[in-house]
Amino acid sequence: MTDYDLVVVGGGPAGQKAAVQAAKTGARVLLIERAKSAGGACVRYGTIPSKTLRETALSLGKFRKLTAHVMDVEMPAHLQVSSLMERKEEVISAHERYMHAQLSRNGIELQQGVARFTSPETLEVALLDGGKRALSSRYFVIAAGSAPRTPDNVPVDHEHILDSDSLLSLSYLPESLVVLGAGVIACEYASIFAALGVKVTIIDKGERPLSFMDQELVEHFLKELRQAGGDFLGGKTLEGARFDGLSSVETRLAGGELLRSEKLFCALGRVAAVAGLGLDAAGVKVTPRGLVQVDEHLRTSAPNIYAAGDVIGPPALASTSMEQGRRAACHALGLDLGKQGALAPAGIYTIPELGSVGLTEQQVRERFGDALVGRAKFEEVARGQISAAENGLLKVVVHAETGVVLGAHAAGERDRARAHRSNGDHRRPHLRDLHRHRLQLPNVRRSLSRRRLRPAQTAARPRLRQARRRRVRGREWPSQPMIAVEAPGGRGAMKAHTAVCN
């Protein structure tokens, strides 16, 4: 008899959902978390605090824009970060209270400590007071999260050179910030700090940031970043960085280029937080990149141990981690959740926000040779101008012959620019579906109205007829999940039903 049915290591999004899912089946569940409450990096260093800061940056920017002709709104030259995140602690506390209530409502035991496997069925928890607790369980879910990757030539001291765990501990806004890396975390923070008036420079070895996103959206992001005073230096090789011992950080690039900034933010990826977990003792294998190796059921090389979230690698989004956590717990306890959809929408909280689902225009052209593209700019819509959200873009990528929508991408100032899956509706979306909505005015939802997408539709018509003929001849249509794209603007945001062929 083991002490528990399921022990979850890590209280982030994946661990928390794994624990709740298991507890709902009546299992005896223990959640081990290093911090005093569940939430993980998402609550402490990631999503919650960064979005609180982002919200302030957005509100300030928008207020200035909307009142530009009425009053002169200036930000103090040396704003303190803490004053910009005044609600952070409040938001975090509320979130922690909610999570605590959820855990206790479901009868989940929470143990603060650091876990280390001693065998595939047992582990030891190191407690804050130096004590140890040994326990056993039938199943385990490793959801220990990830930590920032720090290359040897970037000595992160959390004072002058910071990573994503320490960046928001800054007590004042630096005058300048060099951002190493051009992934999601790098671009999100870069755009937030640029919007707050910090001179931001993103440096990366790639030619453009956010390489997995539609190129046009990335160009839109870069345009906005540069308008806010930021810059992106692509194709650069980093030689090293160091604090000059006085007041600035020197970033050395190949070719002798030297950049000086008040602070440096190292965002060169994250690594699975598996150090000290005792994976060898548990018989859990890791990949050459240090990620926990799992099968399609999220089961590790030890049959009773599962892993979910950042420890298993991309996409490492809170939303996918939650789903992985649930699936891991369900499989362990013999519950069938069905097949997981392969389609994952991406929402990037840059300023402007970027949302994407399905194939990019470049991918469609590579895969099918041609693409029909419908574009709508919010500057052409009255609602966008009224709400000072005119810098948005909505783009739909359609199969040139069949009219099936293969991807949808949006950039806009407010958080409704995200693309997400519309669960439960599995019919194939078609270009003509986009034109059936009757929309109120003014509303940026109109950006997907018939007129705006007419070029795509007109071009598609002859080829659509050909496609119908081919379908009659028995051509197979792939079964595809539905997605929805919400554009910035009114609350009942426009939904562009699209399907993705992947």
Binding site: R34, A35, K36, Y45, P76, A77, H78, L79, Q80, V114, A126, L128, D129, G130, D157, H158, E159, H160, D165, S166, S169, L170, S171, Y172, P174, E175, D244, G245, L246, S247, S248, E262
Partner: protein, 288 residues
């Protein structure tokens, strides 16, 4: 109790002297002189325009008196504008080395040096303790991902009340021609330094986190405002004591410190901080 000074009363010092001390603190008539060696160094380095700027920056970081004075000066509207400057690095970055050099030089000339016969060792120990506490606070902040600059400032300035009281008491006793055993004077500085430090921080317009740390680093139940800074300072204070006076702070007692749990500082993280002990002891020990 970890800090013996807290349990010693001030009875050996005449009440009239303590009243005079309180009045002077309230009126802002107390001074925080520099260590003679530091004053000389500041004068030498700051007077040379060709001197390495890093040496000046380092001087600011290793002396509580210089740091407090610089922060006090740059906090004035003349320098800081609408927002308070909260760290030395920020001060150097915002005002430039030339301005900081000017300020440091002015401070060295204006505030003078400690001339407390019989208390030289005590004064040196106080300054060493403060710089060690600052460095430990910095390490605690690093491992727990809290603000390192704030932690350093709070650690460096947490005991500023002690040399100020010591200097003022010796002056008052001299003026009133009273003789009090040196141990009683030292005990009085220990008993009063939090309250006096807090008052000074307020009147000098030091950052709020520094003020709270100066005022509450010995409180069993610190108030919510800047509680993390206060806890880091309280632990750093004991780590510095453990480093210089291990007989007053045994390791076993240190590992039961009440700030460890709220700071979520696990034993292996404390080990990392303690591993810096020798280098911190050496760095702080160079002060004279």
């Amino acid at each position: 109790m970890a800090n013996a000074a807290r349990s010693i009363d001030t009875a050996a010092v005449p009440q009239a002297v303590l009243d005079e001390l309180t009045w002077r603190v309230q009126q802002g008539k107390v001074e925080l002189p520099l260590l003679p060696g530091v004053a000389m160094e500041v004068t030498n380095v700051a007077a040379q325009e060709t001197a390495d700027s890093r040496v000046i920056a380092e001087l600011l970081r290793k002396d509580q008196a210089v740091a407090a004075h610089v922060l006090r000066v740059v906090a004035s509207p003349v320098y800081s504008g609408r927002t308070q400057i909260v760290s030395l690095q920020q001060a150097v970055a915002r005002l430039g080395v030339a301005k900081i050099r000017e300020i440091s030089l002015a401070i060295a000339f204006r505030v003078g040096v400690f001339k407390l016969k019989g208390f030289e060792a005590e004064i040196t120990a106080l300054f060493q303790h403060s710089v060690a506490a600052a460095m430990f606070a910095q390490e605690i902040a690093r491992v727990t991902r809290r603000n390192v600059e704030d932690a350093f400032m709070c650690g460096l300035l947490h005991d500023v009340g002690r040399p100020v009281i010591l200097h003022a008491l010796v002056q008052i006793l001299g003026e009133q021609k009273l003789r009090v055993p040196p141990q009683a004077v030292i005990a009085a500085t220990g008993a009063l330094h939090c309250e006096v430090g807090g008052t000074l921080a307020e009147s000098w317009n030091l950052p709020e986190a520094v003020e709270m740390s100066m005022r509450h680093h010995h409180s069993a139940t610190p108030p919510d405002a800047h509680v993390t800074s206060v806890r880091i300072t309280a632990l750093a204070d004991e780590l510095a004591r453990y480093t210089f006076e291990p007989e007053r702070m045994p390791e076993a007692e240190l590992r039961q410190h009440p700030a460890l749990a709220p700071l979520e500082l696990y034993p292996e993280m404390l080990d990392k901080v303690l591993a810096k002990g020798e280098s911190i002891r050496q760095a702080a020990g160079t002060l004279s």
